[in-house]
Symmetry: C2
Subunit: 655 residues, 2 copies
């Protein structure tokens, strides 16, 4: 449902709070919704991937008249190069996030980052065990030093040994496949350098070779993400179920309202912590309290670990300011629209950039530094309190829309919940439910918002359709933001939307975990974290594969990014495919200009890796295709189980 | 002089041999010259840098109607991001080349690459000394192992210590400047990863911050290039003056003609060596001999060290096949037009790709492997001999155009030549000639061909104009290919084109080096090597700065890339600027869509780093601007020398 005309302005988002703000705004301020309309029509050469700007002779655009670039590059070369550069940028972004956390851990171990500590030693032990680090005779700091050193190795090493975070988190057969296909990376940084070199003018013209390198690159994305998640859990705690609220209605007129936006928990955790200590300052300024709230994946990070409410997700990031009630928006890295600065000028919000590699001209910049993280947090909150003082007496208009949200479902949390049903092998509770037909399989909802489609609509539709069809859903990133805002991430949604099987399964979990949940009930879908936490979702694939004793392409698991937008999403989708998972994308990436590359994505990938892409912009059709992919896998699982029973052999990994 | 109409097809290159081939061809085969015309008109959004394809909401194109991207990014952000991604790709390409040689050295040291050896221990000692490696008690292999280990560190290290190849090759004041401006890189790979992350959607919106990161990236390009050159010299020998010929006339009907194309000496050196051993096989096939010849920078590599004649440069790479006389084109990495494959199909040429990251569908692929380099070279030459057999009896039409070429001017070779005039301080011969006004300064001619301008024309015009104005010229890359093909790289050109001062200076060098030159005379310009060898040209800046006792932005040295084409060229130009050198580019890069970014390149860069860009497509005007930049520096040098004399103080670094 693309937005193409002025008429569509009224229905450009499915988020009622966003609509309310847009409809009530009289400032005339420009938002992404307006800029999207102004940008129409968009260039179809770029849109289909056949515009090459890799040398200064270009741009070359493939058409009937000019069917090759000036250098002779075919559309397949151009499309493949553009695609894998996007994967490279995505992997670099996640890697940067992960490396930042590795560096913080190292600073902490050198006593240079006093605000940080090992919050979750149990996670440290699990990670160390997984990496094969002997724990005996080592204290936690020594152990963490070894973990961090191995993590850094996965970033920089030059050897051809497998990356430790890849080898130790996928099933053995998968690792063999990656080695066979020569896409097991040396390291994150080396592969980034390799890929950028391979796509230079006059380098690789072979699309298959390029795409394989792109998959190698995508696996580095996975490694960087997994490292980020593991170390974040160690530093800030592994998420446990938590209940809070989402959408603009969480803002209050009489609180200092601070939005935490971006992707990295390093600073936002400190702000949440320090905000809890600064109530006196807030009260002195006439505020009832300081209220932190999240946007995008920084929001997910502090939601998962601190129960911070969700303000909004990617596409509507500019709108909370337009209520007049947002005092500060603190941003770290990634997916921060530069447009927020212009909007803030019309209202009362302090935009505070914090990272050396993500500045916005004219914004406040408080340079984050590990060694004085709390002082920096204090400085930022001070700016918000100043803004609150200026705001007093001015009109604010907050749409009274908010929904209950239950989040915090790390693998550890799922293990705990499922363990209440199946204590010895917790995830057997899930495989049994799939084997019995109670559940149709597992789907990850992930990814962003993208103005090519109506904001949050595809997420919403696909979730309801899958729920109705008894799919167990995990969710991350701005997809999670969407579900939270729309009221889908709570127990009421189970009753409203879940099919009988899913409802029964969740009810059973509720029942078994009654004491632990302390009166709360489980939601319709299980929020695993920020987009960097998609590694948690793949850990679920690995656990299920091990539970069934099969390779990952046989697990009835599908990933879906209904509103994919960023290069990170391209990268995540690519590693899901390389790791054996059908992956739906609701905004067709820029590959359709080459039927060959498109064919690799949609079909050849499956022949080689078992995973493949599904492009489908219509959410209802997308849900059908996702269900079809699940059915195919559950059917095969069942068939082989029956055969194994008939011939009295174990269901082996090699079937 | 852009080519825009069919009419222009007859004058699309200034290379007479190329014109002859194009005019006589009746095959109708399509070349880059045709494809360029078909590609007109080209997109001006891309051309000016204001097309953003960094997220899947794009492409966003900045115009009056849509003055910001959908995310709110201004033109300055979009242009800066695109630019520094180009620098990143260029640095990655050079880095890949350098790392490949580091790996080969390491394989050799493990006795796994028997064809390679330390050809030039003296170079090894010089490099070790420069890096501060103690040589005592170590044999050559041990020393090389230490050098290679430090080289690998400059690629991968995570520490903030300066890169060794940067710190040890620039003057102290320059290193201080880079540190002050926070653009001294951690390492090549880390900076590539950083830059790709910093340009992700919703990351940095600040153009100055982005451009500074781009300069940091460009310095990594310099590091990778310098490592490549140093190690290549150690493995294959440091170039010394050598005389041969250039252009299509070097092909002979009755020889097995093998073109070596690309950038890396690792395989091409082996092919040249093995070709000399395979004359019996060639004779058995009815050929008089095997003749190797070079295209692009692989051509420069084997010209500089082995005296292999020059076939052609970048833009005309497809044309030698159209004579019917080229039996094989062996390609390694970079600047290889995929178009060569289609042309080869119409003629008799075997296209042989050799590297895992640079394949062309349908071409022969002989996978290069260090451990069997000679066997691979033999296999490739076998393919060429097969082609020769098939060619016998068929009509060939070779334009009888060729020129004498004298090349091989490494810094060591220049040191040697100048030392004949000024034995104690060889480069004082050059600084004295500039101080006295005999020479106007030093210019590096570098870079590619680009169909936006008439092939070789700008090189040719600028060289002549600078020669007439007594500029001492060094030259690299396809600029050198151009000069060689056009008859400018020999002693006859000195007599024809040099002004009185330059002529007298070269004559004096000839006289002082009479015995060494063995009857040969020095050329009009001094060929320092392939484009990766531009580090040699910067070594010349450093030596001159040290000779004068000044920082590099005071050295009367200008770099010029009259026909820049590749991302490598963008990267090289950027480090020249960061390292204090005015840099002319004859094809305006994709930055003019942001007056802010353009202003940084043309002006702000000078305020901060002393170097700056000069965009000028007209070669005569370009020469004037280059001369003006030289004059400004020589004038300042003179003024300060006079003041130093007057006040009886030494000409200090701090003036």
């Amino acid at each position: 449902m693309a937005i193409t005309s002025e008429q569509d302005k009224k229905v450009r988002t499915a988020d009622k709070a966003a609509i309310s703000v847009l409809n009530h705004d009289s400032s005339g301020v420009e938002t992404a919704f307006d800029r999207y309309l102004k940008m129409q029509p968009q260039c179809n050469f770029g849109r289909t991937g056949v515009c090459c700007r890799i040398c200064l002779q270009g741009p070359c655009r493939i058409s009937k008249k000019a069917d090759k670039g000036i250098c002779g590059a075919h559309a397949y070369t151009i499309v493949a190069r553009n695609l894998i550069r996007a994967i490279t940028a995505g992997a670099s972004a996640h890697g940067d996030h992960g490396r930042h956390i590795v560096h913080t851990v190292m600073e902490m171990l050198k006593e240079k980052a006093p605000a940080y500590s090992i919050e979750d030693p149990q996670k440290l032990y699990r990670v160390a065990d997984r990496l094969g680090i002997a724990r005996e005779g080592k204290n936690d700091r020594e152990l963490l030093a070894e973990v961090a050193a191995l993590a850094l190795e996965d970033f920089i090493k030059d050897s051809t040994d497998p990356c430790r975070w890849l080898e130790s988190t996928v099933v053995e057969e998968r690792m063999q496949k990656l080695e066979e296909c020569n896409i097991s990376p040396r390291s994150i940084h080396t592969t980034i350098a390799e890929t950028m070199a391979q796509t230079h003018m006059g380098m690789d013209a072979d699309p298959v070779n390029l795409i394989f390198q792109g998959l190698k690159m995508a696996l580095c994305d996975y490694v960087g993400m997994h490292i980020a998640t593991d170390l974040s859990d160690i530093l800030f705690g592994t998420p446990k179920p938590v209940t809070t609220e989402a959408n603009f209605g969480i803002m209050e007129e009489d609180t200092v309202n601070i939005a935490l936006h971006g992707h990295n928990p390093l600073l936002s955790e400190m702000i949440v912590r320090v905000a809890r200590q600064m109530s006196a300052e807030a009260e002195a300024a006439g505020a009832r309290a300081i209220k932190c709230m999240g946007i995008c994946c920084t929001g997910n990070e502090v939601l998962m670990r601190q129960g911070v409410p969700v303000l909004t997700n990617f596409l509507s990031q500019e709108l909370p300011m337009m209520t007049g009630a947002l005092d500060a928006m603190v941003v770290d890295v990634q997916c921060i629209m530069p447009g927020i600065k212009a909007v803030s000028e019309c209202f009362n919000t302090r935009i505070v950039t914090t990272m050396p590699n993500a500045k916005i001209p004219g914004a406040y910049h408080v340079a984050f530094a590990e060694e004085e993280a709390e002082a920096k947090a204090r400085e930022i909150i001070g700016l918000a309190i100043d803004a609150f003082k200026e705001r007093k007496g001015k009109v604010v208009s907050i749409p009274q829309i908010k929904h209950k949200v239950t989040a915090g479902f790390s693998m550890e949390a799922l293990d705990d919940l499922l363990g209440a049903v199946s204590p010895d092998q917790p995830f057997k509770a899930l495989t049994d439910a799939i084997d019995s037909g109670q559940l149709r399989g597992v789907v990850l909802l992930a990814g962003c918002n993208n103005l090519r489609v109506l904001q949050d609509h595809s997420h919403n539709e696909i979730i309801r359709e899958l729920a109705r069809n008894d799919v167990f859903m995990v969710i991350t990133g701005c997809a999670a933001g969407s579900a939270a805002k729309m009221g889908l991430m709570n127990d009421e949604a189970v009753e409203k939307y879940a099919g009988e099987g899913l409802k029964a399964f969740i009810h059973k979990l509720n029942e078994a975990n009654k004491d632990k949940l302390e009166g709360n009930k489980l939601p319709l879908l299980f929020h695993m974290g920020s987009c960097v936490d998609n590694s948690r979702a793949y850990d679920l694939v690995t656990v299920l594969a091990r539970q069934w004793g099969i390779d990952s392409p046989k697990v009835p698991f599908v990933a879906s990014a209904p509103e994919a937008m960023s290069e990170k999403a391209v990268s995540i989708g690519s590693w899901f495919v390389a790791l054996g998972i059908p992956t739906h994308v609701g905004v067709v990436p820029e590959v359709t200009g080459s039927s060959l590359v498109n064919g690799i994505a949609l079909q050849i990938a499956e022949d080689v890796y078992g995973g493949y892409f599904i492009w489908e912009e219509d959410p209802v059709k997308a849900a059908q295709k996702i269900l079809k992919a699940l059915n195919e896998r559950t059917w095969k699982l069942k068939l082989h189980r029956q055969m194994a029973e008939k011939y009295d052999t174990a269901l082996s990994k090699s079937y």
